[in-house]
């Protein structure tokens, strides 16, 4: 039998727990009182400046037995010319991995990691850095390494090579993710492709970087008068100051780092497009010039940005329409050079135009619709009440102070900020919206698959396609035997044999134009694609092709004066430079062109392969090889360099059938392989020699 007391107790408890929800009436959120925020004195670092110009900012923090420091050195990527784009990236990694005179990078790795000590180097647009993060007890052991690395990097060649391999891999991967393409290309549009803030390393620029370049950069920038050393952690500031004076006091001044680089020539407003086949979502960016942080309008601009994001872009495009997961942006303010206004949105292909219209509507509304007092108040409160988080740790405060010091801003800039925000009015916000958001200056970029769009992009205006093909590195001269400077007798003899096979030099010279109709199959990521090609060549150098594809008809024209194409639903536009150059290079090695104008090439025979004589045909430092049947003079196959964004190594065109038209032999069946895989085949259905040519076919139609 259960104890009555226990039952009574349980009952009492039950009653109490049932009662508590009723008793604990919660207030309406409006009625919840907010007591005053506990005032804290924000700790400030101790600032020391040596006679040689070096600045220390020292912040004590005794919570954990760790000491962290970063030497921030003026001079960065923006101070390196375009020819060496990527140099500071190589510097940033090989500075550490290349070790010092006394320790290789590998030795440093073992020494540091066994102590859980971290000494690293880095680089950005405007600075390079050497940092350390150590347990307090290890400081005196590790600090000399930090010093040594700062002042005496060895830049060992094997680590430079390693850094280059990694940089090149990064380049090869830079088009894998559509979002990354969109951001990168938007920044190029906003700053201009030649701006140091938009520059990309390329295979050629990475290849040109030498150890001397790294040493020269180090010598140019690493001087005490260019360095701010910020330290935070479990130390006594006075003692640390002494240690640092001892370490750096006798270091002589050097040349001052250059002043900030201004941005250069932003792109024109317009519509830009990067096509991608393997996406079902578009990455959209709108960009134009921004401003600087020391602009007195900066506080009003921050309020504007808050409203633009919270009340307009996020609310209307994501929450209310469900069109996007990623949407946002605003007027960017960089520290020492103008930033960018940039808005981005990602939406499925089928709502691309709808999302663009929505963003444009919201940007226009920034000018046309007034800002309400409520909106402005909410934005101000959000910024003000979150301001504590800019200084809620000593490490954070130190970082702020280093930035202010580096960019030459007043030391109380963060302290002044709240009162400036507090003064921003709806009229201020309206004014800065008009001044700093200018829709007619916007460059709109879309990375996506246009054939799946809800409406064609051209509905917004002329579309400029952007070719993001990664420029290839031309083969190093040492990789292949030097191209012959003059014809060899053997080469000329083999050339004549081919000419005779085709029909003889006289007949060949009489050919003015050729029209062919062919059907072809090409391998694409989506599977094989069947096309019909009608091509017209007017010698020496005018080409026109009409390609019928499943999704529509494409026309391409390349002449010495112009190169353009028209795609289904996209109107006429210039051929991207790389495509035009690739086409011309391919055209140059076309059989009849070579046979008609041999004076433009040099010919040599390099041996025999598979019972065929190999005729090397060189022009413009590029060599194409024909495998020629020595008995008949028939060209069996052509080996040429694969071109275009997906090219991998050599391409072999096998000519499996030749037929005669108008006394001239033409290859009528061909199969193309690349890297051992068949990528295409062609079957010619008709050939017309010297058909009448209408000049209009090579002229660009009115847009």
């Amino acid at each position: 039998m259960r104890s009555m007391i226990r039952i009574a107790g349980a009952a009492a408890l039950a009653v109490a727990s049932m009662a508590s929800p009723l008793l604990a009436q919660v207030k309406h959120p409006r009625e919840i009182k907010t007591p005053a925020l506990r005032q804290v004195r924000v700790p400030q670092p101790k600032r020391v400046q040596l006679d040689n110009g070096m600045v220390f900012l020292l912040m004590e923090d005794h919570e954990l037995p760790i000491i962290r420091g970063t030497a921030r050195i003026r001079g960065g990527g923006r101070d390196v010319g375009a020819a060496k784009a990527g140099l500071t990236g190589i510097l940033g990694s090989s500075w550490r991995t290349g070790g010092t005179e006394s320790r290789t990078g590998d030795q440093l790795d073992e020494f540091l990691e066994s102590r859980a000590a971290i000494v690293e180097t880095g680089a950005s647009d405007d600075s390079t850095s050497v940092s350390l993060n150590v347990l307090k007890a290890d400081f005196d052991t590790i600090f000399p390494i930090f010093l040594d690395l700062l002042r005496n990097p060895a830049f060992r060649q094997e680590k430079i090579d390693l850094a280059k391999t990694q940089a090149n891999t990064g380049i090869s991967r830079r088009n894998d993710e559509p979002g990354a393409i969109a951001t990168r290309e938007a920044i190029k549009l906003g700053f201009g492709p030649d701006s140091p803030y938009a520059r990309q390393p390329e295979y050629a620029t990475i290849a040109s970087i030498t150890r001397d370049d790294l040493l020269a950069l180090h010598k140019r920038f690493v001087h005490p008068n260019n360095i701010i050393l910020g330290m935070v952690g479990d130390f006594d500031a006075a003692q640390m100051e002494q240690k640092l004076r001892t370490a750096f006091g006798s270091w002589a001044r050097g040349p001052q780092a250059p002043p900030p680089v201004a941005t250069v020539n932003p792109s024109k407003a317009g519509i830009y497009y990067v096509g991608r086949e393997d996406v079902n979502q578009s990455s959209i960016q709108l960009v134009h010039g921004g401003t600087m942080r020391n602009n007195p309008d900066y506080p009003a601009i921050q309020v504007l940005n808050d409203i633009l994001n919270t009340d307009r872009l996020f609310a209307k495009i994501r929450t209310e329409q469900g069109l996007a997961y990623m949407v946002g942006g605003g007027v960017g303010s960089d520290w020492d050079h103008p930033g960018l206004f940039r808005v981005q949105v990602g939406t499925k292909s089928g709502t691309t135009m709808q999302a663009i219209e929505s963003v444009r509507t919201e940007l226009a509304a920034l000018h046309s619709a007034p800002f309400t007092a409520e909106e402005v108040l909410r934005a101000r409160e959000s910024i003000l009440n979150a301001h504590i988080f800019t200084m809620d740790s000593r490490a954070k405060v130190l970082t702020q102070m280093v930035n202010l010091e580096f960019y030459g801003y007043p030391a109380d800039w963060y302290q002044r900020y709240p009162s400036l925000i507090d003064k921003v009015t709806p009229a201020d916000v309206a004014r800065v919206a008009k001044q700093y958001v200018t829709p007619d200056k916007v460059a709109l970029l879309v990375v996506g698959k246009e054939k799946d769009f809800d409406k064609p992009l051209s509905g917004l205006g002329t579309v400029t396609p952007i070719d993001v093909t990664i420029p290839e590195l031309n083969a190093a001269p040492s990789a292949k035997p030097a191209a012959p400077a003059a014809n060899s007798a053997e080469g000329l003899a083999l050339l004549k044999k081919v000419q005779d096979f085709v029909g003889g030099k006289a007949k060949i010279d009489a050919v003015q134009s050729v029209r062919t109709v062919a059907s072809a199959t090409r391998k694409t990521p989506q599977g094989p694609m069947d096309v019909e090609i009608e091509s017209l060549t007017q010698y020496p150098e005018r080409y026109r092709a009409v390609v019928k594809m499943p999704m529509g008809e494409m026309t391409m024209v390349v002449t010495p004066d112009a190169s353009f194409m028209s795609l289904p639903g996209m109107g006429v536009r210039d051929l991207p430079a790389s495509q035009r150059d690739n086409f011309r290079a391919d055209a140059k090695s076309e059989i009849l062109t070579v046979l008609k104008y041999p004076e433009r090439y040099t010919f040599a025979v390099s041996g025999t392969e598979k019972n065929a004589r190999v005729l090397e045909i060189t022009a413009d430092a590029e060599t194409v090889r024909w495998h020629v049947d020595p008995a008949s003079g028939r060209v069996l196959r052509k080996i040429s360099r694969g071109r275009g964004p997906m090219a991998q190594g050599d391409q072999i065109t096998e000519y499996t059938e030749w037929k005669s038209f108008g006394g001239i032999q033409f290859p009528t069946a061909a199969s193309v392989t690349s890297n051992g895989e068949q990528v295409g085949s062609t079957q010619v259905k008709s050939v017309e020699v010297n058909a009448a040519v209408d000049n209009k076919q090579f002229e660009r139609p009115a847009a």
């Binding site: 604990a24 919660v26 919840i32 907010t34 925020l37 506990r38 919570e63 954990l64 037995p65 760790i66 790795d109 990691e113 066994s114 859980a116 307090k136 007890a137 391999t165 090149n168 891999t169 990064g170 090869s172 894998d176 393997d278 079902n280 979502q281 919270t310 929450t319 209310e320 329409q321 469900g322 996007a324 997961y325 990602g346 939406t347 499925k348 909410r378 409160e381 009440n385 979150a386 301001h387 504590i388 809620d392 740790s393 090409r522 391998k523 694409t524 090609i533 391409m556 194409m565 086409f583 391919d586 055209a587 059989i591 694969g642 275009g644 991998q648 690349s674 890297n675 990528v679 062609t682």
Partner: protein, 509 residues
Amino acid sequence: MRVRSRLAQAAGLLMLVASTMQAQDLASFEKKTTVRKLANGLTVIIMERPEAPVFSYATVVNSGSSQEVAGITGLAHMFEHMAFKGNDVIGTKDWKSEQAAMAKIEEAYAAYDRERHREVGRDDANVAQLEKAWRDSIAAADKFVVTDEFTKVAERNGAVGLNAFTAHDITAYFFSLPSNRLELWAYLESERYRQPFLREFYKERDVVMEERRMRVESSPFGRLLEQFISAAFIAHPYGLRGIGHMSDLQSFSATDAKEFFKVHYVPSNMVIALVGDVKTSEAMPLIEKYFGRLPKAPAPPALRTVEPQQKSERTVILRESAQPMYMEGYHRPASTDPDDAIYSVMEMLMSSGRTSRLYKSLVRDKKIAVQASGFNGFPGEKYPNLFTFLIVPTAGNTATAMSEPLRAEIDRLKNEDVPADELASVKTRVKAGLLRQLDSNAGLALQLAQYQTLHGDWRELFREVDDIDKVTAADVRRVANATFVDSNRTVGMIERQAPAAQGAKGDSK
């Protein structure tokens, strides 16, 4: 200077490290931490850290995408989006009317959904009509919505880091506030779990579809991950990505969500951790007042399905125009297994820093990779999961070429004892790594709540460092030999495929 053996040096370092860490050891943390289980089963952890007048919190629900079944994949993640929609007071102009309108949406949707999924005898005209009726019912309910009010209320009160994540194992909600907003926080956070508020559910479904397109469908790496886990797990929900199948995203309803919420969003299934400028004596009663209102309910039933032992090596290959990528996964036990510390040591040995095995061999010496690492807890840790290797080849190398050098390093773990100094270095870094995590309110709040949820005790955050300290070379060999077995392996890779030859003109010339 006296020459000491490397071993003695390492031992000396260990002692030095251990002594400097005394001030930040478990005992000192226990002094400032209070754990309370409320009557309704909710676990609350408060850690005082009055550095600055701010605090962070994390709410961890012990349910994630592993709790989904076919038809509702992606549903757990929806709550991440719903958590910002407000309640009966915030986010609505008139809750009573809105609630009625939302009930009408569910009726209309059920009719539409039933008809459109009809396999035989579907009437498309009827489907179109029902769809319109459903969309109209949404428009009617939208009239009562005050857009994004929850987020605005939080932000104007100084909230930063307002976010959430859904994992296979858990769902976590977190942000930080100035410390004078404690009561407001208690109100906002407790209201999220008092009952489900699912306004704008179908619009957020569209947003989640965009998220799926971004993370998975339009991303080569995203596609690889999805294929990889589906090959590695044939039974357990770890085989599905948390974002859900597109067909389920297009189909599940707010009614489905309500059912899921009722089962999983119960206080006995939740842990809340607060770290920062809070006084436990003031905060705990406040939390009891607000969170005590959450109705008591039994914890959800445990997941039944156990992944059977993998008996075949499996490979998935994506042929893409993207650059190559290589992955290998080997099944390992849940993180609560006694061998967990040994797996952590293997992870450090293989991937931590430039002295790691994979860096030295594949990145530095062979130069065939720019990144090579092995890591635990993929795609989750609560259930048996994968020890996974991820290698990013250097330009010009195929994914396949990564396999032999990787296996060579794996074989070393199996066949050679880890040298003492290497083991010591790992242990030193693990201890320092813990130390380096302790200076962030937000980081601590999430860690405490996660450890309490997944291990039953927040102290495990410290204790696992001690467990790692005890791992021996023999342990590593034993576990390596048990784990890295051919039949236990799943391989996933992206190989670059050359698309069509370029040029519009025929290549017959």
